[in-house]
């Protein structure tokens, strides 16, 4: 029941907003803040009560909805929600980020506030639904629900080139969604099953080549969302033109829908197909790490640099997922959260300096550390989290991912490690150009430092970065049961694969079915 509350409370808040009179912006912001805060509280309660040792879906809600025809028999579509070790961290991250996003929008969203908050809350419902849905059709509904608000946020409150960015985002997304829809239809039609739990226990009746095709339609659809290089060019434009709060959600949560999808529906449902395609995706991930880093190095727009860094960081996640090893999967799951925190922080900080100077051009900065020491402190901390300094969160994820990838493919692991070097290059370069040197631009001399609200937005995120860095096990443990079960299924698929000819890809592996009940 808690999951239904969690998912639809933001929608209730959004509807409540509609009944507020025009001009009552304070009230509207308060409603949004309260709603998201309550949801965040629920998210934390859910996290604390979650049993990480279990591989089962927890807090499951299920109500029959309608039925559809399938190849043989019918598909029972139902309202099914549940959470397991793969989704729990992302759900909690989403709920915790949202109130901070609402707070961050205090300044830079000053027109059509009600509308903005409405889309924001609607988007939260969509995003939480994506992570919680245990029904293929329901999942697709939530997926679209979470994307539509972003078109508007980008198109209405975005920067100068917002129309181009929105268009590009839209085209990419539609392409991805269509592929995904194809996958959903095909899968449910063939198996007669829409229940994610049942599908996770085995789609083995499908012949291998069908599995491979369905896997690919999912994987490419999600890869566009992640984005995996070479599907990444929408990201830099969308990030750069989005308002700060949009960028934070985009980096913090929306991109994770892609990696979550890859993990849940790609690797999770089709371990055999994932094994076949692993070298390709691992390679794309590794190349993405280096490619994104080089891309970031060449930027002279701060926000674009951070956006390009996302391509690099998400390359890590994809590489770790398709390493298909314990360490790699654990690392990827925790790195999804890490990226949300550290990149979210960087976008917030870039937004704060943009609100003061209205430029993102490095040429216009330099020496900011001497004018805004508190800003500099937070910027350096976020940069270090992003660069993967041990003791902060990024290191845990990167190390596990690289370790796990090394087991599967030393070559790609080494490419990824090289990416760590280039990561240091662009992040330090960015820090130096922004913060260090003499204050040469007149307009920078009188900049006021961060105020209490701005510090308040960042403190929880920085504390989380530290917490994950020092006690990562408290988070990793929550994912342990589900990942163990997944690895068992992958290993079973691996055995049948090496045992039989490649043409006879796995029948439903029995052992993992037990693990998942």
């Amino acid at each position: 029941m808690i999951l239904t509350w969690l998912t639809f409370l933001p929608l209730v808040g959004a509807l409540a907003l509609l009944f507020t009179p025009a001009g009552s912006e304070k009230l509207q912001r308060l409603i949004a803040l309260l709603t998201t805060s309550v949801v965040a509280g629920l998210g934390v309660v859910l996290f604390v009560g979650f049993d990480g040792a279990s591989a089962d879906m927890q807090q499951v809600t299920s109500h029959a909805w309608f039925s559809l025809p399938a190849k043989s028999g019918t598909i029972e579509v139902a309202y099914r929600l549940g959470v397991d070790g793969i989704s729990i961290l992302l759900v909690t991250l989403t709920t915790v980020l949202m109130p901070l996003v609402v707070l961050s929008a205090q300044k830079h969203i000053d027109k059509r506030v009600k509308e903005f908050l409405f889309w924001l809350l609607l988007m939260e419902t969509g995003m939480l639904g994506v992570f919680l849905a245990l029904d293929m059709v329901l999942f697709y509904v939530f997926w679209e629900l979470s994307l539509i608000p972003l078109y508007f946020i980008l198109g209405i409150w975005g920067g100068e080139r917002r129309l181009y960015a929105t268009m590009k985002f839209f085209l990419y997304t539609v392409a991805g969604s269509l592929l995904m829809m194809l996958g959903v239809i095909w899968l449910t039609w063939q198996t007669g099953e829409a229940d994610v739990r049942a599908l996770l226990n085995g789609v083995g009746d499908l012949d291998p080549s069908t599995q491979l095709w369905i896997f690919l339609s999912f994987a490419i659809g999600f890869a566009i969302k992640v984005p995996v290089m070479p599907f990444h060019t929408w990201l830099a434009d969308a990030h750069t033109e989005a308002p700060t709060s949009g960028s934070v959600i985009l980096a913090g949560v929306l991109l994770k829908m892609g990696t979550y999808g890859l993990l849940r529906f790609g690797v999770g449902m089709f371990p055999a197909a994932a094994l076949e395609m692993a070298p390709l995706f691992m390679g794309l991930g590794a190349l993405g790490i280096v490619y994104g880093a080089f891309l970031a190095m060449a930027q002279n727009d701060i926000k674009r640099l951070v956006a390009c860094s996302s391509v690099s960081h998400l390359g890590f996640v994809v590489m770790g997922l398709f390493a298909l090893t314990q360490a790699g999967l654990r690392g990827s799951v925790i790195q999804m959260v890490n990226h949300g925190l550290s990149t979210g922080l960087l976008f917030l900080l870039v937004g704060m300096i943009y609100e003061r100077r209205h430029t993102r051009d490095f040429e216009q900065y330099g020496g900011i550390a001497s004018v805004m020491p508190v800003f500099a402190l937070f910027f350096v901390l976020s940069m270090l989290a992003s660069v993967g300094l041990p003791g902060l969160n990024g290191f845990v994820g990167e190390y596990l991912i690289l370790l796990g990838t090394f087991e599967a493919s030393p070559l790609w692991a080494c490419v990824g490690v090289a990416g760590v070097i280039f990561g240091a290059v662009y992040l330090l370069m960015c820090t130096r150009k922004l913060l260090f040197g003499a204050v040469t631009v007149e307009a920078n001399k009188g900049l006021r430092d961060l105020d209490a609200r701005e510090v308040g937005i960042m403190v929880p995120l920085v504390l989380l970065c530290l917490w994950i860095g020092v006690r990562p096990n408290q988070f990793l443990d929550k994912t342990a049961g589900s990942i163990d079960a997944l690895v068992t299924r992958i290993d079973a698929a691996r055995e049948t694969r090496t045992g039989a000819l490649e043409l006879h890809l796995p029948q439903a592996p029995a052992a993992p079915a037990e693990a998942q009940r």
Binding site: F66, V174, P230, P373, L403, L428, R432
Partner: protein
């Protein structure tokens, strides 16, 4: 056994001190915002930071004493573990361990660290970032202690990266000037190259041993020797790659000379006495692993000899006082690795300790000179300073004498032991020994050139405007303590042929429990041995070379710059090459930095914008033109695309519902 939880306090105290000093910094900033010349509580940071490191030093002494009271085989203190990362197939737990090796490192880090903290109080006086400086300095000590105390390679890596971070922050401490910030960035990035090797090496260790626990790895080497000798060698080589970054060996030493952009106490603490020696510590800590790879050891020797020689010869042609000391540090680190390559683990640590004493001393004394000369670092603009700053002069002399290896001083004994053990190893090590001897001559020469140029001859600065003055007691007292250590540090490990047998080989015996495994694997119980007469002869060669070249250097420069000018006129190419440190830094700029920049631009503009985006935009344009041809199907706008998606969804729903009704 693991119940000595108080060991956690050793790194925790400076960490706490760092946090408090950071708070003081921001309180000061706040006070200054309301009144620009308000002092704020920043000045409290100095006593606070000193107390934190001082207490750590006391705890280190306690740990050392406790160890001494134990049986030789039982000399380990261990705290309860901190369960850090659970990788599923492997757990990383970090506990604090004090054994003979880490006890030595502890005392050096906290002892020398304490003296430098005291000194820095005077040196940094009046700096607007006073409290921030001590926050960084304390954080550095905490991280360095984490490095030497960790039971796990990954815990060590926390310290390893942590000290790198502090180095970055402190090199760029005066970031408003611009180039210190660039130097800091360079240090971090170059170190990252080494760290990348370190990380891959750690993956190999996980693959072989299934753990990153240092003692488990050390104990397991023997068992895996036969089956995994290639992987062991590769892992050792990669870890040495990490050491090359941190300990400034070829080809990664280029960051250290630039690191001198930081305040001088930082150069003394981080870039001479402690952090840069962590690569040496790493090798000694994993000595069984390195002993299992003789080829890698020889490679280390070649790299070390080349580094020692190249850096030593570059020091001869530097004009910047701190520049000489920086290249000297690189060169001396080369000596330490030279010792390691011969399996002389204890000798390397011995040189590490004595170097910490005399190089910290030299840097601090140089800082005192620079301070007194109003931030002038060019030795060509100094001269005759012995009259103006007598205490600094005397202590500098002590450091110089020790560095140049004058007989019976600390540097003499430690350098001699490294060279003697290389000589004893024979084979290729004869060659390494010869390079070491040549470098010893260079060392004596550049050291006394530096003394001559700085303290003797006529004043080459405008005596009307610059009035050199002696530093306050808070700065000179640490100098004196270090001077005593630099002169007498040899007592720690006198050669076996020394007449007082009681003190001979003290450090060697103390470290034996740690180095025994490596010795066994390397020598199979037959350690190379020198006869007494050869040992005496080597000592005599060392003493002779040091005396002759110290004299030459001093004699040539005690009157003035004539010799430097002569050198530049007669051998301009050689002079330029040496002053430029053999052009290695420039080679990096031309062959690494520039290509990377070009590649980044190519990727961003050519590949990303033109090719990938071109395809995307082209597809969009194509869709639009198709749309126009088929009239209003799509005009490329969001709205109509949305309609398309809606239509598709409706179609899907229709198809399903139709089926449902059937």
């Amino acid at each position: 056994m693991p119940n000595d939880n108080w060991l956690w306090w050793i790194p925790a105290l400076p960490l706490l001190g760092s946090a408090l000093a950071g708070v003081l910094h921001f309180l000061t900033l706040r006070a200054r915002r309301s009144a620009p010349d308000a002092k704020g509580p920043g000045a409290l940071a100095w006593p606070l930071a000193c107390a934190a490191v001082g207490l750590s030093f006391v705890l280190s002494l306690v740990a050392f004493n406790t160890l001494r009271g134990l049986e030789e085989s039982a000399r380990v203190l261990e705290s309860a573990p901190w369960p850090w990362i659970d990788a599923g197939s492997m757990q990383v737990a970090v506990s604090m361990v004090v054994d003979p090796l880490s006890s030595v490192m502890l005392l050096v880090v906290t002892g020398v660290g304490f003296l430098i903290h005291v000194y820095a109080g005077g040196y940094m006086k009046g700096d607007p970032g006073y409290a921030k400086f001590f926050a960084y300095l304390n954080l550095f000590v905490a991280m360095m202690l984490m490095l030497v105390l960790s039971s796990s390679l990954l815990g060590l890596f926390i310290g390893w990266e942590g000290v790198g971070l502090c180095s970055y922050l402190l090199i760029g401490f005066w970031y408003s000037k611009g180039w210190p910030a660039e130097a800091g960035q360079k240090a971090f990035v170059v170190n990252r190259i080494g760290d990348a090797c370190f990380v891959i090496g750690s993956f190999l260790l996980v693959r072989i041993f299934g753990t990153l626990d240092l003692s488990a790895i050390g104990a397991g080497v023997h068992e895996h020797l036969a089956a995994h000798s290639f992987e062991l060698g590769l892992a050792a080589l990669l870890l040495f790659g990490g050491a090359c970054g941190k300990s400034a060996q070829l080809p990664l030493f280029v960051w250290l000379p630039d690191a001198m952009a930081g305040p001088t106490p930082v150069s003394a603490l981080i870039h001479a006495a402690t952090m840069v020696t962590s690569g040496v510590y790493l090798v000694v800590r994993l000595n069984p692993l390195f002993a299992a790879a003789p080829g890698v050891l020889l490679f280390i020797g070649v790299v070390a000899a080349a580094t020692a020689f190249i850096a030593g010869s570059s020091a001869v042609a530097q004009r910047d006082l701190k520049g000489v000391l920086a290249y000297s540090t690189v060169s001396q680190l080369g000596y330490m690795f030279l010792g390691l390559s011969a399996g002389a683990w204890a000798a390397a640590i011995f040189h590490l300790v004595t170097h910490a004493f005399f190089k910290a001393l030299l840097f601090l004394a140089a800082g005192s000179v620079i301070h007194g000369m109003h931030e002038e670092q060019d030795m060509h603009k100094m001269g005759g300073l012995r009259k103006h700053m007598p205490r600094t002069f005397v202590t500098f002399l002590a450091g110089a004498a020790a560095l140049s290896g004058l007989p019976l001083l600390s540097g003499f004994f430690s350098k001699d032991e490294i060279l003697a053990l290389n000589f004893a190893s024979g084979g290729a090590h004869y060659g390494l020994w010869a390079v070491g001897v040549v470098t010893a001559a260079l060392t004596a020469f550049y050291t006394w050139r530096m003394v001559g140029l700085t303290f003797f001859g006529k004043e080459r600065f405008d005596t009307h405007h610059v009035h050199p003055h002696e530093a306050p007691a808070s700065m000179t007292v640490p100098l004196m303590v270090l001077a005593v250590l630099a002169l007498g540090g040899g007592l720690l490990n006198l050669p076996a042929v020394a007449p007082f047998t009681l003190a001979s080989q003290g450090l060697h015996h103390w470290l034996e429990p740690v180095t025994r495994l490596g010795d066994e694997i390397l020598h199979h119980g037959h350690a190379p041995h020198l006869s007494h007469s050869v040992e005496y002869a080597l000592l005599a060669i060392g003493a002779g070379i040091a005396l002759i070249y110290a004299h030459k250097g001093f004699h040539a420069y005690k009157e003035g710059l004539a010799r430097d000018e002569q050198f530049r006129e007669q051998r301009p190419a050689l002079q330029g090459l040496l002053a430029d440190a053999w052009g290695i830094d420039r080679a990096y700029r031309d062959w690494v930095v520039q290509p990377v920049k070009v590649l980044a631009l190519t990727i961003a503009v050519l590949v990303d914008k033109l090719v990938i985006d071109g395809i995307v935009n082209g597809a969009a344009a194509l869709a639009r033109s198709l749309g126009q041809r088929s009239k209003r199907l799509t005009d490329g706008s969001v709205a109509s695309a949305g309609l398309w998606m809606g239509a598709a969804a409706a179609l899907l729903a229709f198809f399903w519902l139709l089926g449902g009704a059937r």
